[in-house]
């Protein structure tokens, strides 16, 4: 019997410290776990439990998985205590992934906040893989402080090679920060992306998602062109356990990325 409740084993290959509370884990699964960018996995810390994460690696890399995880609760706390060589479990992929076919030939404005850049990194790596398919790709990223910027070196590389138009802002600078200070919502205009024929992709803390969405609507993005990563409590991952219900959708099965058009009439979407 195919048992969708049980994970395949994976070995932690590498642990990368991204910020004081965020670490990336490079996993080598016992068998390939192919996924589409935007789909998510349930990661098992043996004997402790599972939590859902969207991989931050490209969908074109299949022999290893990268997950970037903020330490916030029981499972992530236990995961942060793990070292290279330790064993975890992986279940999935679940959900539908970003509708890349619908992005083709259009501008793509990627808006990230904090650790929300993790799933967006997977998207950006996938977009960079055949960047000529898209009219223009821009990343607008906000972090609380310079120390909270994840993938810092990689984002710098992206900025330099110019395939993606990158701008970063922090809520509060430090002594060395010479870049922009302010919320990410202040850098969404004048990106050179025409909101009438482009898409926006947003991932970050709920309050940032809310105000970024309102700003994008203001700028002229239609509700159906705004793609939101919805964070909900999930247990099973495939629309059975009921935890992630939002209005008439199950976020795990129908999302986790949903257009604003699809969720705007539901209550409780930003909580």
């Amino acid at each position: 019997m195919n048992n969708p409740y049980l994970p395949v084993g994976a070995t932690i290959r590498e642990v990368v410290e991204e910020s004081p509370t965020i670490r990336s884990f490079v996993l080598l699964p016992d068998e390939p776990v192919p996924f589409l960018t935007g789909q998510f996995l349930a990661l098992t810390v043996p004997g402790v439990g599972e939590a859902p994460f969207t991989p931050s690696s490209s969908q074109y890399v299949t022999d290893r998985l990268e997950l970037t995880v903020m330490r916030v609760g029981t499972v992530t706390e236990a995961l942060h205590a793990m070292r290279p060589g330790d064993r975890v479990g992986v279940r999935g992929p679940f959900g539908t992934g970003y509708p890349l076919d619908a992005f083709r030939g259009r501008g793509v404005l990627v808006v990230g906040g904090g650790v929300g850049l993790a799933p967006l990194r997977s998207l950006l790596l996938t977009l960079r893989h055949d960047i000529e398919r898209y009219r223009k790709v821009a990343l607008r990223y906000g972090a609380r402080t310079p120390a909270d910027i994840i993938y810092r070196r990689e984002v710098e590389e992206w900025r330099r090679d110019g395939r993606i138009d990158v701008a970063i802002t922090v809520d509060r600078g430090d002594g060395e920060w010479t870049g922009r200070v302010g919320l990410v919502t202040t850098i969404l205009q004048d990106t050179g992306i025409d909101p009438r024929d482009s898409v926006a992709v947003v991932c970050g803390p709920p309050v940032m998602m809310k105000f970024a969405t309102f700003k994008l609507l203001d700028i002229g993005f239609p509700p159906a062109a705004i793609h939101l990563s919805m964070e909900k409590n999930m247990s099973c991952g495939f629309g059975k356990c009921g935890h992630c219900r939002l209005g008439t959708v199950y976020v795990c099965r129908d999302g986790p990325v949903l257009t604003y058009e699809r969720v705007k009439d539901f209550r409780e979407i930003w909580e």
């Binding site: 048992n3 064993r87 009921g242 008439t248 909580e271």
Partner: protein, 343 residues
Amino acid sequence: MATYFIPTEEWEALVRALSRSARLYAPRAEGEDYRLEPAGDDSPPPPFSRYRAVQSLKAILFEPRFDVGGYLGGGDAAGPAGGGEAVVLGAKGCNIAALAVLDFALGADVPDPFYARNRERTLIVSSDCLDFKEVCFCTLVGGRPYPERGFDLNLSPVEGGFVVETGSPNGEAFVARFKDRFAPASPARLAARDAARAELTARLREHQRRLGYLWGAVSRELVERVFESPVWAEEAERCVECGACNFVCPTCHCFLLSDHGRERFRRLRNWDSCQYKGFARVGGGGSPRPALFERLRNRYDKKFVFCPAVIGVSGCTGCGRCVEACIGRIDMREVMKRLSGCK
């Protein structure tokens, strides 16, 4: 599908034979109630239950706590073997209606393999109600005190025996297997069945009318319209967050996977309750429904808005189990009555 007649003694002999070849669940009378439990092969013929049992089919098809298997060396990754063929007697119209919700919730898209297996291996023999409990309100949510579809076999008592209706290929195969015991149902017996059904339905409707419960037809619009009503918070004052309403409900199906073991890792599937504070809480601590009244409201939203919109049926079957189980005496009928007075 088709209707037949079986004399009482033939049916009882058949049940005795069945109890030797399959796991049999049958109602057992206990005071005014019936308990739906495993019946041994030496027990007397189960009573014909007058109304629904305390337990619903959910507990048989979707175990409260179930070991779904081991991982990373924890053994049997395919999950446990399961218990073979089963026959359940005594399900009523409200419980058969609930199967439509469970079949969607646990069986659609990627199914829960253990529910699917239980469903496949269980012959469901339902029967008409002959009476109702004070808390019964199936007629308010579009139901009837007798099943119309969704069973394998349905029994309606008539003089001298039962009219048996088949509702599935499995039910047909059952009748074919024991065809010597069944006769065609005569028009007179069918008429007697229909008259008894109409009489009980009228009596149950009169019961609702006397209690002042008239909200049935508008329940979906009602719950959508009264989202901001103060009634939710007032009713939630008596909720102690025990989850009993969820656990006794024949359609509530939410569950939580939990991990166990230090070296042999096992995973369990546990019934969960949307009334619990942590139900929708995410890792970082945020919750879409931090207040108890929001969670109470969520239960109604799922039953009366989500289920009709997504599954096409009511998520409440009017069985009244949650009314009986609530130690805070939160009565769904009263809540809906109060809400229907809201602007």
